[in-house]
């Protein structure tokens, strides 16, 4: 165990070139750490999406103007209209607690797991006009741990 005792390091000798070297390393490490922090900070700012419920959207939606939203809700039964020639999907998104609804329009392939009465998250920029133009639909992918919840 005595072998692992630290030898007198050069640092303690107070050697100037050692200090310069230490400074260089501190600087190098600092630059990387700062870069990571800067990238994370700016990227969060530029890509953030607010996750809200339908009720929140109806209440204070306009406070999110200029931001991208992810609104969670349920596809109201009997409201899904799918045009398979134009790939237009229209449906009513209801609040999970039944506190209000939003009309949604989406253009693209119908996701496999999209169905009435199912949970869905619609993503898109805030807009005061109806319907809400969704740029993406996030359905709950049937992961392995979900089967029980379905049955």
């Amino acid at each position: 165990m005595s072998a692992s005792r630290p030898r007198v390091s050069l640092l303690r000798a107070g050697n100037i070139s050692t200090m310069k070297r230490e400074l260089k390393f501190t600087l190098g490490i600092g630059i990387i750490v700062a870069t990571v922090a800067f990238l994370v900070w700016t990227a969060v700012d530029q890509t953030k999406m607010y996750m809200i419920t339908v009720a929140e959207y109806l209440d204070v939606g306009n406070s999110y103007a200029g931001n991208t939203l992810r609104i969670a809700g349920k596809v109201a039964a009997g409201t899904m209209k799918w045009n398979d020639t134009t790939n237009d999907l229209r449906f009513t998104l209801t609040d999970m607690d039944g506190r209000g609804t939003i009309e949604v329009h989406y253009r693209g392939l119908l996701p496999d797991m999209f169905a009435e009465d199912k949970k869905v998250v619609v993503e898109g920029p805030y807009a005061s006009a109806s319907p809400f133009e969704a740029t993406a639909l996030l359905t709950t992918c049937p992961s392995k741990y979900e089967a029980k919840a379905n049955s």
Binding site: R21, F25, A43, L110, T139, E146
Partner: protein, 659 residues
């Protein structure tokens, strides 16, 4: 049968707890007989968990629907091979499978070290048995795998169709092996801290375990990506979903660790850092299981809210507290004996590579838990998607790629001007030339240009390493060039195996970068006989067909694919409607070449036969998978047991002692 399964499981809890207590007592009181006793208890746990697993597999295969788990994940029409893989189709089974792997690996490690490292082994036993006891107690108290149904159904719910897939048979075992294997090196780290044997003994002993853990974790990630690409049908393979991130983070810190231990072995430095990395890697594997099973972070893969979350977090806190407590306890002895000599040295290239890996892991963690953090701190739930991860991790990964080229050719200790000129001029010129050529060919994305340019740089430096090594060896031993290359790899497996892995990683970089930047995606609605064009391909929609059997209904489209006016292939994308559980699913069809993948998804076909297709052209994505193959070869070279390596190791150890 079920009684046997339950009994074995309860006994396993007892034996694993006994293994912990006996081993720690043995080490503290220096009682050799209790070391043996603790190890035997660990072997016994393995036997008992094997029995539990066999009982579960038997129930799955024989469709014993009185067991809730069997009824939830199998059916009488499910092929036997999928009944077996239903073992990891659900929460209870997957944790049982996890425990089986853990106890098996523990037994292997104990057997491997039955005559070696005796001082350290009780702590390895104790660490592994603690983790085992945690998982077994989850199975005993919270999610009993053999929970019974009062009214057994005549038919089970069946395994999710998306999981009835080849990749899903091999993806979870690979991933679990990768996750669980980290427990063994972690156990050795704890052993080193507890006994105070802080030289590189624990690192050398656990090196092959680390390599194995790293290898299976890489494979698990790749298989998962491949599964997403083939089965999910959105044209991509990686979505920065929390579940994916959970598997990616330990791979990052683990890779950092594999690199930084080389500095400890060589320079006796970075001891605290290496301890930190192995602890973090293990903690991230526990965090990963927590993420995927707690429902705390909402994910596109939705999970049942199992209520296991708090238990995992408590265990995680316990692990971190004990581990870093031990590090703090040994902090004086962990001080480095040397210092880095120069910023321009291979050591510092390793150091910066480590910082970047950890930086990417941190950014990934931050993005993954950001919704929870923002809700705590600001009361609003803010989430970040793939753009966040690409924006942060992209530049960091490109910097890593560059370091991968610099590392092997910069001198150890201190790079002289001569070293820099001699080794760097040609590869740098080549990199610049390739970058310029890329620009001239119309590449306008800075990331793409940097990646091709750095890739050329890295590939050249690796080729040069092989070439100069082979020439030197060939001249010395009068060998032919080819046999010199083989001899080189045999003699120094770790180094050249590592280089081969680097080549695989470069291929993956190229595949990922090009397929994400230059992907073409188009949506077309066409009548029968009509055609549409994407990139250089023309697709003609020929026909549609309906098929139905007891299992599913299929809607199949036939597309003839033309390139330069010549038909090259016919694709059959499908839409499937499974009957149990009722669920539509997409069957992608693609034509994959080294140049690009033509990937076609059938959206829908209406009553008149008008069909909607989503087509993608993903350039160079083939290289991602091929890079995976190269990575497998490289790992095999690095880890394959050989006489030369053993002798080399022995010689090295002797020389260390003499020094």
């Amino acid at each position: 049968m079920i009684t046997i399964g339950n009994l074995a499981l309860y006994l396993a809890l007892a034996t694993s707890l006994y293994a912990v207590v006996a081993s720690i007592y043995a080490a503290q009181a220096h009682r050799g007989e209790f070391v043996t006793s603790g190890e035997r208890a660990a072997y016994a746990t393995w036997g008992l968990i094997s029995i539990t697993t066999i009982v579960m597999l038997h129930a799955l295969v024989t469709n014993d629907f009185s067991i809730k788990y069997v009824a939830a994940y199998t059916s009488t029409t499910l092929p036997v091979r999928f009944r077996l893989t239903a073992l990891w189709g659900g929460m209870e089974g997957s944790l049982l499978f996890w425990t089986l792997i853990l106890t098996t690996l523990t037994s292997l490690a104990l057997f491997q070290n039955r005559y070696r490292n005796r001082e350290m082994m009780p702590y390895v036993t104790a660490t592994a048995a603690t983790v085992t006891a945690f998982f077994v107690s989850l199975l005993v108290f919270l999610i009993p795998p053999f929970a019974l149904l009062k009214f057994p159904p005549a038919e089970g719910t069946d395994l999710n169709p998306l999981l009835q897939n080849y990749w899903m048979q091999i993806h979870p075992p690979a991933l679990y092996l990768g996750y669980v294997s980290w427990t063994i090196p972690f156990g050795f780290a704890i052993g080193a801290l507890a006994t105070g044997r802080l030289d590189d003994l624990w690192i050398r002993t656990s090196r092959r375990w680390c390599l194995m853990a790293w290898f299976f974790l890489s494979l698990g990630n790749l298989f998962g990506a491949r599964w997403a690409y083939e089965v999910l049908g959105w044209g991509g393979y990686w979505a920065w979903d929390p579940v994916e991130n959970a598997a990616f983070m330990p791979l990052l810190t683990g890779t950092a660790y594999l690199h930084s231990v080389m500095i400890q072995e060589r320079k006796d430095m970075l001891k605290v850092w290496n301890m930190t990395l192995i602890i973090l890697t293990f903690a991230l594997t526990i965090f990963g299981t927590f993420l995927t099973r707690s429902g705390v972070i909402s994910s596109v893969h939705s999970f049942t809210q199992s209520g296991l979350g708090p238990y995992f977090l408590t265990f995680l806190a316990f692990v971190l507290l004990i581990s870093f407590g031990l590090v703090a306890f040994r902090i004086r002895e962990l001080r480095p004996r040397h210092q880095l000599d120069s910023l321009l040295s291979r050591e510092s290239a390793f150091l910066f590579n480590n910082l970047l890996f950890v930086g990417i892991a941190f950014a990934t963690l931050w993005g993954t838990i950001f919704p929870v953090l923002s809700e705590w701190v600001r009361g609003v739930k803010i989430t970040v998607g793939p753009p966040f991860f690409n924006r942060v991790n992209g530049p960091l990964a490109v910097a890593l790629l560059l370091l991968m080229g610099i590392g092997p050719i910069i001198a150890w200790r201190r790079a002289t001007f001569r070293n820099l000129v001699g080794n760097f001029v040609v590869p740098t010129a080549l990199g610049l030339a390739v970058g310029t050529a890329g620009f001239a060919c119309g590449m306008r994305s800075l990331s793409a240009i940097l990646v091709v340019s750095f890739s050329a740089f890295v590939l050249y430096t690796i080729a040069a390493e092989f070439h100069s090594g082979a020439r030197a060896r060939g001249a010395m031993l009068q060998e032919s060039y080819m046999s010199a290359i083989l001899g080189l790899m045999r003699k120094n497996q770790r180094r050249y195996g590592g280089y081969v892995i680097h080549v695989g990683v470069v291929f993956m970089f190229l595949g990922v970068t090009m397929s994400s930047i230059y992907r073409t995606e188009e949506l077309h609605t066409v009548k029968k006989g009509e055609q549409f064009t994407i990139d250089r391909y023309t697709l003609k929609y020929m026909d549609s067909e309906n098929k139905e059997d007891s299992h599913m209904a299929q809607l199949i489209a036939t597309l003839d694919v033309y390139e330069n006016g010549k038909q090259i292939t016919t694709l059959h994308p499908e839409k499937r409607f499974y009957k149990r559980p009722e669920q539509p699913a997409t069957e992608v069809d693609m034509r994959s070449t080294m140049r690009d993948d033509l990937y076609v998804v059938l959206g829908s076909i209406d009553d008149q036969g008008v069909a909607t297709f989503q087509a993608y052209v993903n350039p160079l994505v083939w290289w991602l998978w091929f890079g995976g193959v190269v990575l497998v070869i490289g790992t095999a070279i690095a880890a394959f047991p050989s006489k030369a390596a053993t002798l080399h190791e022995r010689a090295r150890v002797t020389s260390t002692i003499r020094r």
